[in-house]
Symmetry: C2
Subunit: 113 residues, 2 copies
Protein backbone atom coordinates (compact mmCIF):
# COMPACT_ATOMS: atom_id res chain seq x y z
CA UNK A 1 0.00 0.00 0.00
CA UNK A 2 1.18 3.50 -0.82
CA UNK A 3 1.32 5.56 2.39
CA UNK A 4 -1.14 8.48 2.50
CA UNK A 5 1.32 11.02 3.85
CA UNK A 6 0.37 14.71 4.24
CA UNK A 7 1.72 17.61 2.24
CA UNK A 8 5.47 18.03 2.99
CA UNK A 9 7.47 18.77 4.99
CA UNK A 10 7.63 15.50 6.87
CA UNK A 11 10.42 13.04 7.61
CA UNK A 12 11.08 9.41 6.78
CA UNK A 13 13.42 6.52 7.49
CA UNK A 14 14.58 4.47 4.52
CA UNK A 15 15.68 1.08 5.88
CA UNK A 16 17.38 -1.08 3.22
CA UNK A 17 18.48 -4.56 4.21
CA UNK A 18 19.80 -7.90 3.04
CA UNK A 19 18.45 -10.80 5.12
CA UNK A 20 20.39 -13.77 6.42
CA UNK A 21 19.14 -17.28 5.50
CA UNK A 22 16.11 -18.67 7.36
CA UNK A 23 13.39 -16.95 9.34
CA UNK A 24 14.66 -17.36 12.91
CA UNK A 25 11.80 -15.36 14.43
CA UNK A 26 12.09 -12.51 11.94
CA UNK A 27 8.60 -12.49 10.42
CA UNK A 28 6.86 -12.65 13.80
CA UNK A 29 8.92 -9.77 15.20
CA UNK A 30 8.49 -7.65 12.06
CA UNK A 31 4.73 -8.16 12.35
CA UNK A 32 4.81 -7.48 16.10
CA UNK A 33 6.64 -4.14 15.60
CA UNK A 34 3.96 -2.71 13.28
CA UNK A 35 1.30 -1.96 15.90
CA UNK A 36 3.53 -0.08 18.41
CA UNK A 37 5.16 1.85 15.54
CA UNK A 38 1.76 2.91 14.23
CA UNK A 39 0.77 3.95 17.77
CA UNK A 40 3.73 6.32 18.14
CA UNK A 41 2.88 10.02 18.08
CA UNK A 42 3.92 11.40 14.71
CA UNK A 43 3.73 8.11 12.77
CA UNK A 44 2.33 8.81 9.29
CA UNK A 45 2.56 5.52 7.38
CA UNK A 46 4.84 2.80 6.05
CA UNK A 47 5.67 1.18 2.71
CA UNK A 48 7.61 -2.06 2.34
CA UNK A 49 8.80 -4.52 -0.31
CA UNK A 50 11.45 -7.22 -0.43
CA UNK A 51 13.23 -9.01 -3.28
CA UNK A 52 17.05 -9.28 -3.27
CA UNK A 53 16.99 -6.33 -0.87
CA UNK A 54 14.20 -5.26 1.42
CA UNK A 55 13.19 -1.60 1.50
CA UNK A 56 10.94 -0.26 4.26
CA UNK A 57 10.12 3.44 4.26
CA UNK A 58 8.39 4.73 7.40
CA UNK A 59 7.05 8.28 7.39
CA UNK A 60 7.03 10.53 10.45
CA UNK A 61 5.91 14.05 11.33
CA UNK A 62 9.39 15.15 12.47
CA UNK A 63 12.84 13.96 13.55
CA UNK A 64 11.75 13.86 17.21
CA UNK A 65 9.13 11.21 16.39
CA UNK A 66 11.82 9.14 14.64
CA UNK A 67 14.15 9.43 17.65
CA UNK A 68 11.38 8.39 20.04
CA UNK A 69 10.70 5.27 17.98
CA UNK A 70 14.43 4.49 17.75
CA UNK A 71 14.60 4.59 21.58
CA UNK A 72 11.38 2.55 22.11
CA UNK A 73 12.31 -0.49 24.25
CA UNK A 74 10.51 -3.12 22.13
CA UNK A 75 12.06 -1.64 19.04
CA UNK A 76 15.51 -1.61 20.65
CA UNK A 77 15.20 -5.35 21.37
CA UNK A 78 14.30 -5.92 17.72
CA UNK A 79 17.29 -3.78 16.64
CA UNK A 80 19.66 -5.96 18.71
CA UNK A 81 18.25 -9.16 17.18
CA UNK A 82 18.38 -7.61 13.73
CA UNK A 83 22.11 -6.93 14.01
CA UNK A 84 22.81 -10.32 15.61
CA UNK A 85 20.63 -12.66 13.53
CA UNK A 86 18.40 -11.33 10.78
CA UNK A 87 20.44 -8.97 8.63
CA UNK A 88 23.58 -9.71 6.64
CA UNK A 89 23.77 -5.97 5.94
CA UNK A 90 21.53 -2.97 6.37
CA UNK A 91 21.51 0.75 6.01
CA UNK A 92 19.24 3.27 7.74
CA UNK A 93 18.83 6.69 6.17
CA UNK A 94 16.92 9.46 7.92
CA UNK A 95 15.51 11.95 5.42
CA UNK A 96 13.39 15.07 5.13
CA UNK A 97 10.65 14.90 2.51
CA UNK A 98 10.66 18.13 0.52
CA UNK A 99 8.42 17.48 -2.49
CA UNK A 100 5.67 15.01 -3.08
CA UNK A 101 3.59 14.23 -6.14
CA UNK A 102 1.95 11.37 -7.92
CA UNK A 103 -1.11 9.76 -9.35
CA UNK A 104 -3.77 8.34 -7.05
CA UNK A 105 -5.25 4.93 -7.73
CA UNK A 106 -8.58 3.63 -6.41
CA UNK A 107 -6.90 2.67 -3.13
CA UNK A 108 -5.47 6.15 -2.58
CA UNK A 109 -8.39 8.50 -3.16
CA UNK A 110 -7.63 10.72 -0.23
CA UNK A 111 -4.59 12.50 -1.66
CA UNK A 112 -4.40 14.63 -4.74
CA UNK A 113 -0.74 14.04 -5.73
CA UNK B 1 22.05 -4.33 -3.65
CA UNK B 2 22.37 -1.68 -0.97
CA UNK B 3 23.56 1.57 -2.58
CA UNK B 4 27.01 2.74 -1.47
CA UNK B 5 26.07 6.36 -0.97
CA UNK B 6 28.55 8.89 0.48
CA UNK B 7 28.34 10.57 3.87
CA UNK B 8 25.26 12.88 3.95
CA UNK B 9 24.04 15.32 2.90
CA UNK B 10 22.75 13.96 -0.36
CA UNK B 11 19.29 13.70 -1.91
CA UNK B 12 17.03 10.88 -3.03
CA UNK B 13 13.80 10.13 -4.84
CA UNK B 14 11.49 7.56 -3.25
CA UNK B 15 9.24 6.24 -6.02
CA UNK B 16 6.45 4.00 -4.69
CA UNK B 17 4.09 2.42 -7.20
CA UNK B 18 1.34 -0.10 -7.78
CA UNK B 19 1.55 -1.73 -11.23
CA UNK B 20 -1.27 -2.39 -13.62
CA UNK B 21 -1.80 -6.00 -14.83
CA UNK B 22 0.54 -7.36 -17.51
CA UNK B 23 4.00 -6.23 -18.63
CA UNK B 24 3.13 -4.12 -21.71
CA UNK B 25 6.74 -3.08 -22.30
CA UNK B 26 7.38 -2.14 -18.68
CA UNK B 27 10.31 -4.42 -17.85
CA UNK B 28 12.24 -3.55 -21.00
CA UNK B 29 11.82 0.20 -20.42
CA UNK B 30 12.71 -0.04 -16.72
CA UNK B 31 15.90 -1.88 -17.70
CA UNK B 32 16.59 0.60 -20.51
CA UNK B 33 16.32 3.59 -18.11
CA UNK B 34 19.03 2.29 -15.74
CA UNK B 35 22.06 3.07 -17.90
CA UNK B 36 21.19 6.71 -18.75
CA UNK B 37 20.22 7.36 -15.11
CA UNK B 38 23.54 5.98 -13.89
CA UNK B 39 25.33 8.16 -16.48
CA UNK B 40 23.75 11.37 -15.17
CA UNK B 41 26.08 13.72 -13.29
CA UNK B 42 25.31 13.43 -9.59
CA UNK B 43 23.82 9.91 -9.70
CA UNK B 44 24.92 8.00 -6.58
CA UNK B 45 23.06 4.68 -6.67
CA UNK B 46 19.69 2.95 -6.67
CA UNK B 47 17.81 0.38 -4.58
CA UNK B 48 14.65 -1.38 -5.70
CA UNK B 49 12.19 -4.08 -4.62
CA UNK B 50 8.63 -4.98 -5.59
CA UNK B 51 5.91 -7.02 -3.89
CA UNK B 52 2.38 -5.58 -3.54
CA UNK B 53 4.02 -2.18 -4.03
CA UNK B 54 7.27 -1.39 -5.76
CA UNK B 55 9.75 0.92 -4.05
CA UNK B 56 12.69 2.38 -5.97
CA UNK B 57 15.01 4.77 -4.15
CA UNK B 58 17.52 6.61 -6.34
CA UNK B 59 20.23 8.65 -4.65
CA UNK B 60 21.60 11.89 -6.07
CA UNK B 61 24.22 14.47 -5.11
CA UNK B 62 21.74 17.36 -5.04
CA UNK B 63 18.28 18.53 -6.12
CA UNK B 64 19.68 19.90 -9.39
CA UNK B 65 20.80 16.41 -10.42
CA UNK B 66 17.28 15.12 -9.68
CA UNK B 67 15.71 17.89 -11.77
CA UNK B 68 18.07 17.20 -14.69
CA UNK B 69 17.06 13.53 -14.68
CA UNK B 70 13.39 14.44 -14.41
CA UNK B 71 13.76 16.56 -17.57
CA UNK B 72 15.81 13.94 -19.49
CA UNK B 73 13.95 13.19 -22.76
CA UNK B 74 14.15 9.39 -22.59
CA UNK B 75 13.01 9.55 -19.00
CA UNK B 76 10.14 11.88 -19.90
CA UNK B 77 8.91 9.37 -22.51
CA UNK B 78 8.99 6.66 -19.84
CA UNK B 79 7.09 8.95 -17.43
CA UNK B 80 4.31 9.44 -20.01
CA UNK B 81 4.01 5.68 -20.57
CA UNK B 82 4.10 5.08 -16.82
CA UNK B 83 1.09 7.33 -16.25
CA UNK B 84 -0.77 5.95 -19.26
CA UNK B 85 -0.09 2.22 -19.02
CA UNK B 86 2.11 0.81 -16.28
CA UNK B 87 1.02 2.31 -12.98
CA UNK B 88 -2.36 2.07 -11.27
CA UNK B 89 -1.02 4.55 -8.71
CA UNK B 90 2.34 6.03 -7.79
CA UNK B 91 3.91 8.59 -5.56
CA UNK B 92 7.23 10.36 -5.99
CA UNK B 93 8.87 11.90 -2.93
CA UNK B 94 11.98 14.02 -3.21
CA UNK B 95 13.99 13.96 0.01
CA UNK B 96 17.18 15.19 1.61
CA UNK B 97 19.23 12.51 3.37
CA UNK B 98 20.34 13.87 6.74
CA UNK B 99 21.69 10.86 8.66
CA UNK B 100 23.02 7.54 7.49
CA UNK B 101 24.15 4.47 9.42
CA UNK B 102 24.15 0.74 9.21
CA UNK B 103 26.02 -2.52 9.19
CA UNK B 104 28.08 -3.48 6.16
CA UNK B 105 27.83 -6.97 4.72
CA UNK B 106 30.42 -8.64 2.48
CA UNK B 107 28.95 -6.88 -0.56
CA UNK B 108 29.24 -3.42 1.01
CA UNK B 109 32.80 -3.26 2.35
CA UNK B 110 33.42 0.26 1.19
CA UNK B 111 31.29 2.08 3.74
CA UNK B 112 31.68 2.07 7.47
CA UNK B 113 28.04 2.72 8.53
Amino acid sequence: MIAKTPTPPCCAVIFTSVRTEGDDGYAATAERMLAPAADQPGFLGVESAREAVGITVSYWADLEAIDRWRRNLHHQEAQVLGRAKWYAAFRTRVVRVERDGGMAGPEAESWAG
